[in-house]
Amino acid sequence: MRKLIDSITRNLLVFLMGMLVIVVVWQVFSRYILNAPSTFTDELARFLLIWVSLLGAAFYSGKNLHIAINVLPSRLSPPNRKKLNILIHLIVISFVLFVFVIGGGMLVYYTYTYLQLTPTLQIPMAFIYAIGPISGLLIIFYKIADIADLLRTDPEQVDGDNQFEQENFTGSI
């Protein structure tokens, strides 16, 4: 299940990122070479960025790659570290549930019922905001799976001393 969702999300992300590059390159090309600036690329690119960012944030939440400070977890005994990790996942789940799923869901609902359209493309704003609840549900799915994994594993096996893993900081500029 997790693998399937992972692979669908990954392919979608590569597609969206590719689109983003093509759209902005087209904007530059149309403005400087064709001398006929395209009207839709600016807006489309901005919306694609929102989608890539939120969907990507959900995907890498599943990989536990968001920057966090692991000083405390790495100093705890394995059973306590396990409990703390579960608590952290629960905190993330509740924030995402309230803001991304419920708040984002209401946003989609209201902009859809009032038929708010985007200025140039004239598509419903609700389509753009829809990535909020989508990525929210994805994060909740990953975090519940993480908690289930944690509950299944022996506390001694819970790895927590990953403070210096270079991978953990790829999200920093």
């Binding site: 530059v28 403005r31 890539v52 939120l54 944030a57 405390l72 924030f95 803001v99 708040g103």
Partner: protein, 432 residues
């Protein structure tokens, strides 16, 4: 904003951060808890969701994924090694040759990728083993790599200057970019100076003097990569294209170069794309929740309150800049550079503008200051990456880092109080 709300904001932020909740969510949760004091809960959830999404709705921010993608392509496409070769021929014969190569390579690579962490891992992984082989200690190598990688954020194009432009309400990116040159190169020269003194005292090996021919040869090999900088920065400064368009051009250019060098094949592209999605999305969600926190603070009039307090303390430019620098140094110890810029720019900028300090100058001060913060424990992303690439520990790397910190601090003081260092070039090009 009452005292209770400020306490909730600060305490929830610190506690969540300390127990290991990812920084992006920490910022979001602290903002949500604070805004719940003023808004009815359903409205608060919806407003936060809207804040998170609309703060990413910016054409300027789009430059960041493209510069990141260009950096990825450079790394995979053999451009990094060509830049290092050129740096080797240029400064390899100075005392402590490899240290200087590291500084110059970080300057060139970090400049093009616009990111310090990318520079530290790319250059550290190539030069680190070589340094060890030639008798440098691992710790010294790591310290040089960490401190010199900060230049990627000061010398343009720089992703963090784009973030500052956004946080400061649209300060000209062209002016910020060109203002970064002198302070950035100055930092590099001072770091090289420290490395040279160190190398002479510890008797580190001196590289062979390079003849003119290999120097020219390596320059020609690096030329296409260097030309990219001319196109990108030149185009932005002259005003031919925006930073985002320049970044898109950089992607096409590095992609072409990587194909030309035959270092990348078509089937490698999804992987490269995904690498850029990773950094982009993690940074963007951090940007989104940081902007939400900044919005919650201004919703409660916190910036005005801090501004009044600071100005009541003193209306002397030098004193205020000193206080702000001290606060930022402290903040930088605990906070990564991106949220720090987004949260503290709206707080401090009105104060310094009131005292007649130019936003461009303040941006350079702020970035240079927070660059020290990302190299210092307990929380320093660049420190962590540099230590991890070199395979050493923070405790061991602190001693060789100390003189470099002092050098960076002195440069910061110099840039803070001598505004021409940052403002001369933008004025020369008539950008302000």
């Amino acid at each position: 904003m009452g005292l209770t709300e400020i306490l909730v904001l600060v305490l929830s932020f610190l506690i969540l951060l300390a127990i290991g909740v990812p920084v992006a969510w920490t910022l979001g949760i602290a903002s949500l808890l604070t805004i719940l004091f003023s808004l009815e809960s359903m409205t608060a959830f919806m407003t936060m969701a809207q804040q998170v999404m609309t703060s990413l709705d910016s054409f300027t921010l789009l430059a960041i994924p493209f510069f990141i993608l260009a950096g990825q392509l450079m790394n995979k496409g053999g451009i990094a090694t060509r830049l290092i070769d050129f740096a080797k021929n240029l400064v390899g014969s100075l005392p402590g040759g490899l240290a200087h190569i590291n500084v110059v390579a970080a300057m060139l690579f970090g400049a093009i990728a616009g990111s310090s962490v990318a520079a530290a891992s790319a250059i550290g992984s190539i030069l680190g083993p070589r340094m060890e082989k030639e008798g440098y200690t691992k710790e010294f190598g790591a310290a040089i790599n960490i401190s010199s990688s900060t230049m990627g954020l000061i010398i343009p194009p720089s992703n963090i200057l784009i973030v500052y432009s956004l946080a400061s309400g649209g300060t000209s990116i062209a002016a910020l970019f060109i203002a970064g040159y002198i302070p950035g190169i100055l930092t590099g020269l001072i770091l090289m100076g420290v490395a040279a003194v160190w190398a002479i005292r510890k008797d580190f090996p001196v590289g062979e003097r390079t003849a003119l021919k290999p120097l020219i040869k390596s320059f020609l090999k690096a030329l296409p990569s260097l030309l990219l900088l001319v196109i990108v920065i030149g185009g932005i400064v002259i005003g031919i294209f925006t930073a985002t368009e320049a970044a898109a051009i950089a992607v096409v250019y590095t992609l072409g170069l990587a194909f030309f060098y035959k270092e990348i094949r078509f089937k490698d592209l999804p992987k490269v794309m995904m690498g850029s999605v990773q950094t982009t999305s993690i940074v963007m969600i951090l940007i989104a929740t940081s902007i939400s926190m900044s919005w919650v603070m201004s919703f409660g009039h916190l910036p005005q309150y801090i501004s009044e307090t600071l100005l009541a303390l003193s209306d002397n430019k030098i004193v205020i800049l000193l206080i702000i620098n001290l606060i930022l140094l402290f903040v930088g110890m605990f906070m990564d550079i991106t949220p720090a810029v987004l949260i503290f720019t709206p707080i401090f900028l009105p104060v310094v503008v009131e005292l007649g300090i130019d936003p461009v100058h303040f941006g350079i001060i702020m970035i240079m200051n927070l660059c020290i913060g990302i190299c210092t424990p307990p929380v320093g992303t660049l420190l962590f990456v540099g230590v991890s690439v070199a395979g050493t520990t923070i405790e061991k790397v602190i001693k060789p880092l100390l003189p470099l910190f002092i050098a960076m601090l002195l440069t910061l003081i110099l840039v803070t109080f001598w505004e021409d260092l940052s403002l001369a070039l933008p004025r020369l090009f008539d950008l302000m």
